[in-house]
Subunit: 136 residues, 4 copies
Protein backbone atom coordinates (compact mmCIF):
# COMPACT_ATOMS: atom_id res chain seq x y z
CA UNK A 1 0.00 0.00 0.00
CA UNK A 2 1.18 3.49 -0.82
CA UNK A 3 2.57 5.87 1.82
CA UNK A 4 0.12 8.71 2.55
CA UNK A 5 0.70 12.28 3.65
CA UNK A 6 -1.86 15.09 4.19
CA UNK A 7 -1.36 18.49 2.51
CA UNK A 8 -3.55 21.50 3.26
CA UNK A 9 -4.03 24.13 0.52
CA UNK A 10 -3.11 27.72 1.49
CA UNK A 11 -3.19 31.04 -0.43
CA UNK A 12 0.45 30.49 -1.44
CA UNK A 13 -0.58 27.37 -3.40
CA UNK A 14 -3.28 29.00 -5.53
CA UNK A 15 -3.23 31.20 -8.62
CA UNK A 16 -5.53 33.79 -10.20
CA UNK A 17 -7.53 31.00 -11.81
CA UNK A 18 -8.86 30.40 -8.28
CA UNK A 19 -7.27 26.95 -8.13
CA UNK A 20 -4.02 25.30 -7.09
CA UNK A 21 -1.16 26.28 -9.41
CA UNK A 22 -0.26 23.04 -11.19
CA UNK A 23 3.49 23.34 -10.59
CA UNK A 24 2.81 23.09 -6.86
CA UNK A 25 1.80 19.43 -7.13
CA UNK A 26 5.52 18.77 -7.64
CA UNK A 27 6.08 20.41 -4.23
CA UNK A 28 3.31 18.36 -2.61
CA UNK A 29 4.70 15.18 -4.14
CA UNK A 30 8.14 16.02 -2.80
CA UNK A 31 6.84 16.67 0.71
CA UNK A 32 5.27 13.20 0.63
CA UNK A 33 8.49 11.61 -0.70
CA UNK A 34 10.46 13.35 2.04
CA UNK A 35 8.10 12.05 4.72
CA UNK A 36 8.15 8.60 3.14
CA UNK A 37 11.96 8.60 3.37
CA UNK A 38 11.77 9.93 6.93
CA UNK A 39 9.37 7.10 7.83
CA UNK A 40 12.14 4.72 6.69
CA UNK A 41 14.70 6.49 8.86
CA UNK A 42 16.28 8.56 6.08
CA UNK A 43 16.80 12.28 6.68
CA UNK A 44 18.05 14.24 3.68
CA UNK A 45 19.87 17.06 5.49
CA UNK A 46 21.81 14.39 7.42
CA UNK A 47 22.60 12.54 4.17
CA UNK A 48 23.95 15.73 2.68
CA UNK A 49 26.28 16.53 5.57
CA UNK A 50 27.24 12.97 6.58
CA UNK A 51 27.22 10.95 3.36
CA UNK A 52 27.95 13.87 0.99
CA UNK A 53 25.20 12.89 -1.41
CA UNK A 54 21.64 13.78 -2.22
CA UNK A 55 18.72 12.80 -4.39
CA UNK A 56 17.91 15.03 -7.37
CA UNK A 57 14.84 14.77 -9.54
CA UNK A 58 15.66 13.63 -13.07
CA UNK A 59 12.21 13.13 -14.56
CA UNK A 60 8.62 14.10 -13.78
CA UNK A 61 5.48 13.11 -15.65
CA UNK A 62 2.16 14.43 -14.35
CA UNK A 63 -1.48 14.55 -15.36
CA UNK A 64 -3.81 17.08 -13.75
CA UNK A 65 -7.41 15.81 -13.67
CA UNK A 66 -9.41 18.07 -11.35
CA UNK A 67 -8.56 21.36 -9.66
CA UNK A 68 -8.09 21.81 -5.91
CA UNK A 69 -8.99 25.00 -4.07
CA UNK A 70 -8.05 27.06 -1.03
CA UNK A 71 -8.67 25.21 2.27
CA UNK A 72 -8.93 21.79 0.60
CA UNK A 73 -7.21 18.97 2.46
CA UNK A 74 -5.43 16.61 0.08
CA UNK A 75 -3.92 13.19 0.56
CA UNK A 76 -0.64 12.73 -1.28
CA UNK A 77 0.63 9.22 -1.89
CA UNK A 78 4.11 7.91 -2.65
CA UNK A 79 4.84 4.39 -3.84
CA UNK A 80 8.20 3.02 -4.90
CA UNK A 81 7.79 1.17 -8.19
CA UNK A 82 11.43 0.63 -9.12
CA UNK A 83 14.73 0.79 -7.25
CA UNK A 84 17.81 0.73 -9.45
CA UNK A 85 21.44 1.23 -8.46
CA UNK A 86 21.39 4.91 -9.29
CA UNK A 87 17.75 5.88 -9.58
CA UNK A 88 14.40 5.37 -7.86
CA UNK A 89 11.03 5.60 -9.60
CA UNK A 90 7.91 6.52 -7.66
CA UNK A 91 4.25 6.64 -8.52
CA UNK A 92 2.43 9.48 -6.74
CA UNK A 93 -1.14 10.74 -6.52
CA UNK A 94 -3.02 13.70 -5.12
CA UNK A 95 -6.48 12.78 -3.84
CA UNK A 96 -9.30 14.62 -2.13
CA UNK A 97 -12.05 13.26 0.07
CA UNK A 98 -15.54 13.99 -1.21
CA UNK A 99 -18.48 13.38 1.19
CA UNK A 100 -20.28 10.07 0.45
CA UNK A 101 -18.10 9.31 -2.55
CA UNK A 102 -14.80 7.54 -3.14
CA UNK A 103 -11.75 9.84 -2.88
CA UNK A 104 -11.30 11.80 -6.10
CA UNK A 105 -8.06 11.78 -8.04
CA UNK A 106 -6.81 15.34 -8.64
CA UNK A 107 -3.37 14.67 -10.10
CA UNK A 108 -1.03 11.74 -10.58
CA UNK A 109 2.35 11.04 -11.94
CA UNK A 110 5.68 9.36 -12.05
CA UNK A 111 8.80 10.86 -10.46
CA UNK A 112 12.33 9.59 -11.05
CA UNK A 113 15.08 10.60 -8.67
CA UNK A 114 18.80 9.94 -8.97
CA UNK A 115 21.66 10.01 -6.52
CA UNK A 116 24.42 12.64 -6.93
CA UNK A 117 27.47 13.80 -5.04
CA UNK A 118 26.46 16.98 -3.13
CA UNK A 119 29.54 18.89 -4.23
CA UNK A 120 30.28 17.77 -7.77
CA UNK A 121 26.60 17.00 -8.60
CA UNK A 122 27.90 13.94 -10.47
CA UNK A 123 25.65 10.87 -10.53
CA UNK A 124 26.62 7.92 -8.39
CA UNK A 125 25.31 4.73 -6.82
CA UNK A 126 22.68 5.03 -4.12
CA UNK A 127 24.34 4.07 -0.80
CA UNK A 128 23.61 0.45 0.17
CA UNK A 129 22.17 1.48 3.55
CA UNK A 130 19.51 3.53 1.76
CA UNK A 131 18.63 0.78 -0.72
CA UNK A 132 18.36 -1.63 2.19
CA UNK A 133 16.04 0.71 4.11
CA UNK A 134 13.77 0.91 1.06
CA UNK A 135 13.25 -2.85 0.92
CA UNK A 136 10.21 -3.81 2.97
CA UNK B 1 -1.09 32.65 24.81
CA UNK B 2 -0.24 32.63 21.14
CA UNK B 3 -1.71 30.12 18.69
CA UNK B 4 0.92 27.60 17.56
CA UNK B 5 1.31 25.68 14.31
CA UNK B 6 4.11 23.32 13.21
CA UNK B 7 5.86 23.81 9.87
CA UNK B 8 8.36 21.34 8.45
CA UNK B 9 11.11 22.61 6.12
CA UNK B 10 11.28 20.95 2.69
CA UNK B 11 13.57 21.47 -0.33
CA UNK B 12 11.04 23.92 -1.80
CA UNK B 13 11.62 26.25 1.18
CA UNK B 14 15.39 26.49 0.88
CA UNK B 15 17.75 28.45 -1.36
CA UNK B 16 21.31 28.08 -2.63
CA UNK B 17 22.60 29.62 0.61
CA UNK B 18 21.67 26.26 2.17
CA UNK B 19 19.02 27.89 4.36
CA UNK B 20 15.33 28.79 4.28
CA UNK B 21 14.64 31.57 1.76
CA UNK B 22 13.57 34.54 3.92
CA UNK B 23 10.46 35.36 1.85
CA UNK B 24 9.05 31.96 2.82
CA UNK B 25 8.57 33.01 6.44
CA UNK B 26 5.68 35.11 5.10
CA UNK B 27 4.18 31.86 3.81
CA UNK B 28 4.74 30.06 7.12
CA UNK B 29 3.18 32.99 8.99
CA UNK B 30 0.17 32.88 6.70
CA UNK B 31 -0.30 29.13 7.16
CA UNK B 32 -0.39 29.75 10.93
CA UNK B 33 -2.86 32.67 10.56
CA UNK B 34 -5.07 30.48 8.37
CA UNK B 35 -5.06 27.69 10.96
CA UNK B 36 -5.67 30.22 13.74
CA UNK B 37 -8.73 31.49 11.86
CA UNK B 38 -9.84 27.90 11.21
CA UNK B 39 -9.52 27.13 14.93
CA UNK B 40 -12.02 29.97 15.47
CA UNK B 41 -14.41 28.50 12.91
CA UNK B 42 -13.44 30.82 10.06
CA UNK B 43 -12.72 29.27 6.63
CA UNK B 44 -11.44 31.69 4.00
CA UNK B 45 -12.68 29.91 0.87
CA UNK B 46 -16.17 29.87 2.43
CA UNK B 47 -15.89 33.58 3.27
CA UNK B 48 -14.97 34.32 -0.32
CA UNK B 49 -17.92 32.46 -1.85
CA UNK B 50 -20.53 33.15 0.85
CA UNK B 51 -19.67 36.58 2.25
CA UNK B 52 -17.95 37.92 -0.88
CA UNK B 53 -15.00 39.26 1.05
CA UNK B 54 -11.47 38.29 1.98
CA UNK B 55 -8.50 39.37 4.03
CA UNK B 56 -5.55 40.89 2.19
CA UNK B 57 -2.18 41.65 3.71
CA UNK B 58 -1.50 45.39 3.89
CA UNK B 59 1.72 45.52 5.88
CA UNK B 60 4.51 43.14 6.91
CA UNK B 61 7.51 43.87 9.11
CA UNK B 62 9.95 41.03 9.76
CA UNK B 63 13.31 40.47 11.38
CA UNK B 64 15.31 37.35 10.52
CA UNK B 65 17.58 36.32 13.41
CA UNK B 66 18.85 32.80 12.72
CA UNK B 67 18.62 30.57 9.64
CA UNK B 68 16.57 27.37 9.43
CA UNK B 69 17.57 24.36 7.33
CA UNK B 70 16.13 21.44 5.44
CA UNK B 71 14.27 18.96 7.70
CA UNK B 72 13.97 21.45 10.60
CA UNK B 73 10.62 21.43 12.37
CA UNK B 74 9.52 24.97 13.25
CA UNK B 75 6.79 26.26 15.50
CA UNK B 76 4.98 29.26 14.06
CA UNK B 77 2.94 31.45 16.39
CA UNK B 78 0.10 33.88 15.70
CA UNK B 79 -1.24 36.34 18.23
CA UNK B 80 -3.85 39.01 17.62
CA UNK B 81 -2.62 42.31 19.06
CA UNK B 82 -5.19 44.69 17.60
CA UNK B 83 -8.63 44.27 16.02
CA UNK B 84 -9.97 47.38 14.32
CA UNK B 85 -13.09 47.76 12.18
CA UNK B 86 -11.20 47.24 8.95
CA UNK B 87 -7.84 45.75 9.89
CA UNK B 88 -6.30 43.16 12.19
CA UNK B 89 -2.74 43.28 13.47
CA UNK B 90 -0.91 40.11 14.45
CA UNK B 91 2.41 39.41 16.06
CA UNK B 92 4.04 36.24 14.73
CA UNK B 93 7.18 34.25 15.44
CA UNK B 94 9.10 31.33 13.98
CA UNK B 95 10.79 29.20 16.65
CA UNK B 96 12.86 26.04 16.65
CA UNK B 97 13.39 23.54 19.44
CA UNK B 98 17.01 23.05 20.40
CA UNK B 99 17.86 20.07 22.66
CA UNK B 100 18.33 21.10 26.32
CA UNK B 101 17.85 24.80 25.56
CA UNK B 102 14.90 27.16 25.37
CA UNK B 103 13.28 27.33 21.90
CA UNK B 104 15.29 29.64 19.64
CA UNK B 105 13.72 32.56 17.83
CA UNK B 106 14.43 32.38 14.07
CA UNK B 107 12.23 35.18 12.78
CA UNK B 108 9.51 37.44 14.10
CA UNK B 109 7.29 40.17 12.85
CA UNK B 110 4.09 42.10 12.64
CA UNK B 111 1.47 41.44 9.96
CA UNK B 112 -1.47 43.71 9.24
CA UNK B 113 -4.40 42.38 7.25
CA UNK B 114 -7.40 44.30 5.96
CA UNK B 115 -10.82 43.27 4.73
CA UNK B 116 -11.73 43.80 1.05
CA UNK B 117 -14.61 42.96 -1.26
CA UNK B 118 -13.53 39.87 -3.29
CA UNK B 119 -14.66 41.36 -6.59
CA UNK B 120 -13.90 45.08 -6.37
CA UNK B 121 -10.94 44.62 -3.99
CA UNK B 122 -12.18 47.77 -2.19
CA UNK B 123 -11.59 47.96 1.58
CA UNK B 124 -14.56 47.49 3.87
CA UNK B 125 -15.53 46.68 7.42
CA UNK B 126 -14.73 43.25 8.77
CA UNK B 127 -18.04 41.34 9.12
CA UNK B 128 -19.36 41.43 12.71
CA UNK B 129 -19.51 37.63 12.91
CA UNK B 130 -15.77 37.45 12.27
CA UNK B 131 -14.91 40.16 14.81
CA UNK B 132 -17.07 38.36 17.34
CA UNK B 133 -15.32 35.04 16.69
CA UNK B 134 -11.95 36.72 17.32
CA UNK B 135 -12.94 37.89 20.81
CA UNK B 136 -11.95 35.31 23.38
CA UNK C 1 11.69 27.76 -35.34
CA UNK C 2 10.83 27.79 -31.67
CA UNK C 3 9.90 30.96 -29.81
CA UNK C 4 12.69 32.01 -27.40
CA UNK C 5 12.56 33.85 -24.09
CA UNK C 6 15.41 34.68 -21.67
CA UNK C 7 15.14 33.78 -17.97
CA UNK C 8 17.66 34.88 -15.36
CA UNK C 9 18.19 32.70 -12.27
CA UNK C 10 17.70 34.45 -8.91
CA UNK C 11 17.95 33.23 -5.28
CA UNK C 12 14.21 32.50 -5.30
CA UNK C 13 14.77 29.87 -8.02
CA UNK C 14 17.43 27.85 -6.20
CA UNK C 15 17.36 25.27 -3.42
CA UNK C 16 19.76 24.01 -0.76
CA UNK C 17 21.34 21.68 -3.32
CA UNK C 18 22.92 24.86 -4.73
CA UNK C 19 20.98 24.49 -8.00
CA UNK C 20 17.69 25.50 -9.56
CA UNK C 21 14.75 23.73 -7.88
CA UNK C 22 13.38 21.43 -10.59
CA UNK C 23 9.74 22.45 -10.12
CA UNK C 24 10.70 25.96 -11.20
CA UNK C 25 11.31 24.88 -14.78
CA UNK C 26 7.53 24.62 -15.02
CA UNK C 27 7.41 28.32 -14.11
CA UNK C 28 10.08 29.21 -16.66
CA UNK C 29 8.25 27.22 -19.33
CA UNK C 30 5.04 29.03 -18.50
CA UNK C 31 6.68 32.46 -18.71
CA UNK C 32 7.87 31.54 -22.20
CA UNK C 33 4.40 30.24 -23.22
CA UNK C 34 2.85 33.47 -21.92
CA UNK C 35 5.28 35.59 -23.94
CA UNK C 36 4.75 33.37 -26.99
CA UNK C 37 0.98 33.97 -26.71
CA UNK C 38 1.61 37.68 -26.17
CA UNK C 39 3.77 37.76 -29.32
CA UNK C 40 0.69 36.45 -31.18
CA UNK C 41 -1.49 39.17 -29.68
CA UNK C 42 -3.07 37.02 -26.96
CA UNK C 43 -3.18 38.41 -23.41
CA UNK C 44 -4.47 35.99 -20.77
CA UNK C 45 -5.86 38.51 -18.26
CA UNK C 46 -7.87 40.06 -21.10
CA UNK C 47 -9.10 36.59 -22.17
CA UNK C 48 -10.25 35.92 -18.63
CA UNK C 49 -12.25 39.12 -18.27
CA UNK C 50 -13.48 39.50 -21.86
CA UNK C 51 -13.90 35.95 -23.15
CA UNK C 52 -14.53 34.30 -19.76
CA UNK C 53 -12.11 31.49 -20.44
CA UNK C 54 -8.52 30.52 -19.70
CA UNK C 55 -5.91 27.91 -20.43
CA UNK C 56 -5.12 25.38 -17.72
CA UNK C 57 -2.27 22.91 -17.78
CA UNK C 58 -3.49 19.31 -18.08
CA UNK C 59 -0.23 17.42 -18.54
CA UNK C 60 3.50 18.01 -18.05
CA UNK C 61 6.35 15.68 -18.88
CA UNK C 62 9.88 16.87 -18.14
CA UNK C 63 13.42 15.55 -18.13
CA UNK C 64 16.12 17.36 -16.17
CA UNK C 65 19.55 16.84 -17.72
CA UNK C 66 21.96 19.36 -16.17
CA UNK C 67 21.58 21.76 -13.23
CA UNK C 68 21.47 25.55 -13.52
CA UNK C 69 22.82 27.91 -10.87
CA UNK C 70 22.33 31.38 -9.43
CA UNK C 71 23.03 34.16 -11.97
CA UNK C 72 22.81 31.83 -14.98
CA UNK C 73 20.99 33.25 -17.98
CA UNK C 74 18.79 30.62 -19.63
CA UNK C 75 16.99 30.56 -22.95
CA UNK C 76 13.54 29.01 -22.73
CA UNK C 77 11.87 27.82 -25.94
CA UNK C 78 8.24 27.18 -26.77
CA UNK C 79 7.06 25.39 -29.88
CA UNK C 80 3.50 24.42 -30.73
CA UNK C 81 3.45 20.80 -31.89
CA UNK C 82 -0.29 20.14 -31.92
CA UNK C 83 -3.39 22.33 -31.86
CA UNK C 84 -6.64 20.48 -31.22
CA UNK C 85 -10.10 21.90 -30.65
CA UNK C 86 -9.75 21.84 -26.90
CA UNK C 87 -6.05 21.38 -26.17
CA UNK C 88 -2.65 22.62 -27.32
CA UNK C 89 0.56 20.64 -27.02
CA UNK C 90 3.91 22.40 -26.77
CA UNK C 91 7.49 21.22 -26.77
CA UNK C 92 9.72 23.32 -24.53
CA UNK C 93 13.40 23.44 -23.63
CA UNK C 94 15.69 25.22 -21.19
CA UNK C 95 19.13 25.94 -22.65
CA UNK C 96 22.25 27.68 -21.44
CA UNK C 97 25.01 29.27 -23.45
CA UNK C 98 28.46 27.83 -22.77
CA UNK C 99 31.49 29.74 -24.12
CA UNK C 100 32.88 28.18 -27.34
CA UNK C 101 30.39 25.32 -27.26
CA UNK C 102 26.89 24.72 -28.58
CA UNK C 103 24.13 25.76 -26.14
CA UNK C 104 23.62 23.05 -23.53
CA UNK C 105 20.25 21.48 -22.88
CA UNK C 106 19.32 21.71 -19.18
CA UNK C 107 15.73 20.51 -19.25
CA UNK C 108 13.09 19.70 -21.82
CA UNK C 109 9.54 18.56 -21.93
CA UNK C 110 6.05 18.46 -23.27
CA UNK C 111 3.25 20.62 -21.88
CA UNK C 112 -0.42 20.15 -22.70
CA UNK C 113 -2.86 22.95 -21.99
CA UNK C 114 -6.64 22.89 -22.27
CA UNK C 115 -9.29 25.58 -22.47
CA UNK C 116 -11.78 25.96 -19.60
CA UNK C 117 -14.54 28.35 -18.61
CA UNK C 118 -13.08 30.75 -16.00
CA UNK C 119 -16.04 30.38 -13.65
CA UNK C 120 -17.15 26.75 -13.94
CA UNK C 121 -13.65 25.44 -14.81
CA UNK C 122 -15.38 23.11 -17.30
CA UNK C 123 -13.47 22.22 -20.48
CA UNK C 124 -14.57 23.82 -23.72
CA UNK C 125 -13.45 24.59 -27.25
CA UNK C 126 -10.61 27.02 -27.74
CA UNK C 127 -12.08 30.24 -29.22
CA UNK C 128 -11.65 30.38 -33.01
CA UNK C 129 -9.83 33.73 -32.84
CA UNK C 130 -7.15 32.15 -30.69
CA UNK C 131 -6.75 29.08 -32.93
CA UNK C 132 -6.49 31.41 -35.91
CA UNK C 133 -3.81 33.51 -34.23
CA UNK C 134 -1.77 30.35 -33.57
CA UNK C 135 -1.66 29.41 -37.27
CA UNK C 136 1.41 30.90 -38.90
CA UNK D 1 18.07 58.37 -8.74
CA UNK D 2 16.94 54.88 -7.94
CA UNK D 3 17.94 51.85 -10.01
CA UNK D 4 15.00 50.51 -12.02
CA UNK D 5 14.15 46.99 -13.18
CA UNK D 6 11.05 45.72 -15.04
CA UNK D 7 9.09 42.73 -13.73
CA UNK D 8 6.25 41.09 -15.64
CA UNK D 9 3.47 39.35 -13.68
CA UNK D 10 2.85 35.69 -14.58
CA UNK D 11 0.40 33.07 -13.26
CA UNK D 12 3.04 31.88 -10.78
CA UNK D 13 2.93 35.31 -9.08
CA UNK D 14 -0.81 35.45 -8.47
CA UNK D 15 -3.14 33.88 -5.91
CA UNK D 16 -6.81 32.93 -5.72
CA UNK D 17 -7.67 36.52 -4.77
CA UNK D 18 -6.95 37.27 -8.45
CA UNK D 19 -3.99 39.47 -7.54
CA UNK D 20 -0.26 39.20 -6.94
CA UNK D 21 0.51 37.22 -3.77
CA UNK D 22 2.04 39.81 -1.41
CA UNK D 23 5.03 37.66 -0.43
CA UNK D 24 6.17 37.78 -4.05
CA UNK D 25 7.06 41.48 -3.81
CA UNK D 26 10.03 40.30 -1.74
CA UNK D 27 11.09 38.24 -4.77
CA UNK D 28 10.61 41.16 -7.15
CA UNK D 29 12.60 43.43 -4.82
CA UNK D 30 15.39 40.88 -4.69
CA UNK D 31 15.53 40.54 -8.48
CA UNK D 32 15.97 44.32 -8.66
CA UNK D 33 18.67 44.29 -5.94
CA UNK D 34 20.48 41.50 -7.80
CA UNK D 35 20.41 43.47 -11.05
CA UNK D 36 21.47 46.64 -9.21
CA UNK D 37 24.51 44.75 -7.84
CA UNK D 38 25.18 43.28 -11.29
CA UNK D 39 25.09 46.81 -12.78
CA UNK D 40 27.90 47.65 -10.32
CA UNK D 41 29.92 44.62 -11.42
CA UNK D 42 28.98 42.40 -8.47
CA UNK D 43 27.82 38.83 -9.21
CA UNK D 44 26.57 36.87 -6.20
CA UNK D 45 27.38 33.34 -7.42
CA UNK D 46 30.95 34.49 -8.04
CA UNK D 47 31.11 36.09 -4.58
CA UNK D 48 29.98 32.83 -3.03
CA UNK D 49 32.59 30.68 -4.77
CA UNK D 50 35.48 33.18 -4.87
CA UNK D 51 35.09 35.30 -1.74
CA UNK D 52 33.25 32.68 0.35
CA UNK D 53 30.62 35.13 1.49
CA UNK D 54 27.10 36.20 0.63
CA UNK D 55 24.42 38.71 1.50
CA UNK D 56 21.49 37.50 3.59
CA UNK D 57 18.34 39.47 4.30
CA UNK D 58 18.05 40.46 7.96
CA UNK D 59 15.03 42.74 7.94
CA UNK D 60 12.12 43.55 5.62
CA UNK D 61 9.39 46.14 6.12
CA UNK D 62 6.74 46.46 3.42
CA UNK D 63 3.48 48.25 2.81
CA UNK D 64 1.12 47.00 0.11
CA UNK D 65 -1.00 49.83 -1.31
CA UNK D 66 -2.67 48.58 -4.49
CA UNK D 67 -2.90 45.11 -6.04
CA UNK D 68 -1.21 44.07 -9.29
CA UNK D 69 -2.66 41.52 -11.70
CA UNK D 70 -1.68 38.94 -14.28
CA UNK D 71 0.10 40.48 -17.31
CA UNK D 72 0.87 43.77 -15.52
CA UNK D 73 4.33 45.16 -16.17
CA UNK D 74 5.85 46.61 -13.00
CA UNK D 75 8.87 48.79 -12.42
CA UNK D 76 10.85 47.80 -9.35
CA UNK D 77 13.28 50.32 -7.86
CA UNK D 78 16.28 49.85 -5.58
CA UNK D 79 18.06 52.68 -3.81
CA UNK D 80 20.86 52.35 -1.28
CA UNK D 81 20.07 54.54 1.73
CA UNK D 82 22.76 53.32 4.14
CA UNK D 83 25.99 51.37 3.81
CA UNK D 84 27.48 50.18 7.08
CA UNK D 85 30.43 47.87 7.65
CA UNK D 86 28.27 44.79 7.95
CA UNK D 87 24.86 45.75 6.57
CA UNK D 88 23.27 47.64 3.69
CA UNK D 89 19.85 49.27 3.83
CA UNK D 90 17.80 49.77 0.68
CA UNK D 91 14.56 51.53 -0.08
CA UNK D 92 12.52 49.77 -2.76
CA UNK D 93 9.27 50.37 -4.58
CA UNK D 94 6.96 48.55 -6.98
CA UNK D 95 5.28 50.89 -9.47
CA UNK D 96 2.92 50.48 -12.38
CA UNK D 97 2.38 52.73 -15.36
CA UNK D 98 -1.19 53.93 -15.75
CA UNK D 99 -2.15 55.62 -19.06
CA UNK D 100 -2.25 59.45 -18.76
CA UNK D 101 -1.45 59.37 -15.04
CA UNK D 102 1.70 59.38 -12.94
CA UNK D 103 3.04 55.88 -12.18
CA UNK D 104 1.10 54.35 -9.30
CA UNK D 105 2.80 53.00 -6.20
CA UNK D 106 1.79 49.38 -5.55
CA UNK D 107 4.15 48.46 -2.73
CA UNK D 108 7.17 49.92 -1.01
CA UNK D 109 9.53 49.03 1.72
CA UNK D 110 12.89 48.89 3.39
CA UNK D 111 15.21 45.89 3.08
CA UNK D 112 18.29 45.35 5.23
CA UNK D 113 20.91 42.85 4.09
CA UNK D 114 23.97 41.66 5.99
CA UNK D 115 27.16 39.92 4.98
CA UNK D 116 27.82 36.37 6.17
CA UNK D 117 30.40 33.66 5.61
CA UNK D 118 28.89 31.17 3.11
CA UNK D 119 29.87 28.14 5.16
CA UNK D 120 29.50 29.16 8.80
CA UNK D 121 26.71 31.69 8.09
CA UNK D 122 28.40 33.95 10.68
CA UNK D 123 28.14 37.71 10.14
CA UNK D 124 31.21 39.57 8.98
CA UNK D 125 32.39 42.77 7.37
CA UNK D 126 31.36 43.48 3.81
CA UNK D 127 34.50 43.13 1.61
CA UNK D 128 36.09 46.51 0.85
CA UNK D 129 35.89 45.93 -2.91
CA UNK D 130 32.11 45.65 -2.65
CA UNK D 131 31.72 48.74 -0.47
CA UNK D 132 33.91 50.64 -2.92
CA UNK D 133 31.79 49.52 -5.88
CA UNK D 134 28.66 50.78 -4.10
CA UNK D 135 30.04 54.32 -3.77
CA UNK D 136 29.01 56.40 -6.76
Amino acid sequence: MAFQFPVRIYWEDTDAGGIVFYANYLKFFERARTEWLRSLGIEQQALKSEVGGMFVVSETSLKYHRPAQLDNLLTITAELVEAGRATLTLRQQALIEVPSLAPQLLAEGMIRIGWVDSNTLKPGRIPATILKALKP
